[in-house]
Amino acid sequence: MMRNKLLGLLLFALSFSALLSCETDGPDDYKDHFVKYYGGDGDQESKDLLVNDDGTVVMLGTSTETTGKKNVLVVKADVEGKQLWSLKLVGPTDEMAQDVEKISTGPDAGNYLIVSNAEKSVADSLAIRLTIVSETGDSLKSFLIDRYESQEAKSITILSTGQYYLTGKVKNVDTLNVELPGVIDLEDSFDMIIGSDFSLVSSDRFGKSTVASGVKILDRSNSINYALYTDEFIGADGVYESNFVFRRYNKVTNDKESFYSGSPRMNEYLADIDQSLTGIFLAVGTQIDPNTKSTKVYVTSINSSFISVNTEATVASPNQGEGVATCAAIDGNFFWVVGNEIRSGGLRNIWLGKLDGTDLSTVFSRTFGGPSNDDTASKVLQLDNGDVLILGTMELVNQKKMALIKIKANGSF
């Protein structure tokens, strides 16, 4: 009898402890750090990302419908990556997303400015569309910029005056070169100032050699810092090969200073530039060896005055890669860089690196991607809490989707 009582007691204790051990709630890490995909029918490729003050994010991409038509896709998501709204901007022709910025001043303050490149009726020619989208995902108005025969925007900068500074490249229909006979002139760089009412205030186009494109304009208190790439002769370089080129326009004196970064006999194509908390700049792009076609992530550190290069280098790993975007890290002199690791067969993985802005050494890196898929990076941002956001395009077996990757500063989920 005593044995049965003891057994009963033991059973009760075991059952009670077993019930207590039941996992009814998992850790919430998956909400804070994740990979989330966005899109619907067809394929969606990411392009740009911004973070709002409340931690929500706005992602910009291009949606290729099942008919082949390309439209601009805007998605807003909360801090856990849950989609709040999405908006597809459907134009009469193919339209490719390029840049998204939050408007901070002027009549459209609080709205988003979307930059896209729209096919014109003439084959292989583009116009630029600026679209204002409200915080709640409504398309409010849009403007088409068609200044040249074919213009492709790279980025837009919202100036402190409330105007917009647009840059990119003009594709020449006639490639005969007036300035440099014998050298084919495929494209020129351009910049345009657009009024807050979206009227064209001014425009400038330059470029003598084969390729040139404005990439980004940084508005600073005393200067406009302009980053581009071109294969014009620069300095002692006696070969037409592309380099990163930087120009500083002094707002007070109107002086202009130029300098460049790049290796002789190599082509460097700039993709992005940002400034660290300590003031130095990091420019990121791709270096291509014209002979071997070897492709490397190329980075250049520029001093805080934006008048000279501190140091420049290719990133050792990945061995073959493309530099796509950069952002200043929240800790001192460091920068986050995203690019694409090119694997054998040409398939790519998203590559993330944290670089020391002083010596350009890689202090941390990791890749994301499926072994059979072509996955590419678009943008990287670091949040105030240290988390890192990467926007990319992931190929999920039979479709491409915009992907938002949110990781901790140490690279883990």
């Binding site: 059952s15 039941c22 989330k36 899109g39 619907g40 099942t66 008919t67 992931m394 039979n398 989707k401």
Partner: protein
């Protein structure tokens, strides 16, 4: 007195051996009937020798029971307790579940029976059957950021086989332990990206050690229902998954792709636990049992390792597949065989109150 009793037993034994050849020429049933007639006529001394040949070779199990019961009665009347004890032990060996009955048997036999038991201390069992595994989601995790993602878990059938041992604390209560292999499976259907379907089929192989308690009813009937429950340690030693994606875009047919079946071991918690409850019934076949039971395992552990939900080359990156956090339950139906390891033996503590109760009951 004791000397004479022993002498008597010895003589009986010699008599049994001596007359062995007689039994071989007579049918054992007839021999048993003859011995019974001898007993009823009050001639006890010749009974052992009459039965000896058939005891050695010829009685069926049921006949052995009757024969040794007759011998037990004879020895009791001959005042030979050793012989009676030995004979009653043989009764229990022939039928371990034999119970003397005040309505049928001599009161001396009934009292004697209270000094013995053949109840098994251990029983061995084996079972086999089918199962399915309902999923209890702890946290829903979607790889798609969009709203309106629809997740449904579908049941798939598996099977299991087990061997077990019951430690009988009493006739009704036993502590049970098993070694169980189970193959389980489920399917998760997720609709996302505007009507695309992702089908994830998960197949798991488990080794489990369920420890529990079993309570039996109607322990003297041919069909004996029982209930059981306990705690199980479940080792997930293999988990394989396959992802099928049906891209169903408007205006286009379904573009279907399927992954190979690949290991999910690194994404799973190896050691899981569960509580189980069940009911069953044993059906007596000879001195053993066939049984059938249904069992429900309530999983207690998150089967998914939370740290592996995302990774550089995880299914989340390659296929857009993310596991929810979930517990896996299991509902199984089994049939099996129980071999009680009967052990006829003398009891240390004798209880005879039930005899008096039985007599009183008969009187009313």
């Amino acid at each position: 007195m004791r000397f004479y009793k022993s002498l008597l037993s010895g003589l009986l034994l010699i008599s049994v051996i001596h007359t062995g050849s007689f039994a071989q020429t007579t049918s054992c049933e007839a021999q048993l009937s003859a011995a019974t007639a001898e007993f009823e006529a009050g001639r006890f001394y010749g009974i052992p020798s009459m039965l000896k040949p058939c005891i050695d070779n010829g009685f069926t199990r049921e006949q052995r029971q009757r024969a040794f019961l007759l011998l037990t009665q004879a020895y009791l009347l001959l005042d030979d307790p050793i012989g009676a004890d030995n004979s009653y032990l043989e009764v229990l060996r022939a039928n371990p579940e034999f119970l003397a009955d005040t309505a049928r048997d001599q009161i001396d036999v009934v009292y004697l029976s209270k000094r013995f038991t053949a109840s098994p201390i251990f029983s061995l069992s084996g079972r086999i059957g089918g199962n399915f595994s309902p999923i209890s989601v702890i946290s829903t995790i979607n790889s798609s950021g969009e709203q309106g993602v629809d997740n449904k878990y579908k049941l798939r059938f598996g099977w299991q086989a087990a061997v077990g041992v019951d430690w009988h604390l009493s006739e009704r209560i036993a502590v049970t332990a098993e070694l169980n292999y189970a193959f389980t499976s489920y399917r998760k259907d997720q609709v996302k990206f505007n009507n695309d379907l992702e089908q994830f089929t998960d197949k798991q192989n488990w080794i489990s050690v369920p420890l529990g308690v079993k309570y039996s009813f109607f322990v003297r009937e041919r069909i004996r229902p029982y209930v059981f429950g306990g705690y199980a340690f479940n080792f997930l030693f293999s988990d394989k998954g396959q992802i099928k994606i049906f891209k169903r875009d408007a205006g286009e047919g379904s573009l279907d792709e399927s992954s190979p079946e690949f290991s999910f071991n690194s994404y799973r918690t190896k050691l899981n636990t569960s509580l189980f409850l069940g009911i069953g019934a044993k059906y007596k076949v000879g001195i053993d049992f066939l049984f059938a039971e249904i069992r429900y395992n309530a999983g207690l552990t998150n089967v998914v390792k939370p740290t592996t939900t995302y990774g550089s080359t995880s299914p989340a990156i390659e296929y857009g597949h993310v596991d929810d956090y979930f517990r896996i339950n299991n509902f199984s139906i089994s049939v099996g065989y129980v071999k009680p390891l009967y052990k006829p033996r003398k009891l240390k503590h004798i209880r005879t109150k039930s005899v008096l109760k039985g007599i009183k009951k008969q009187g009313t």
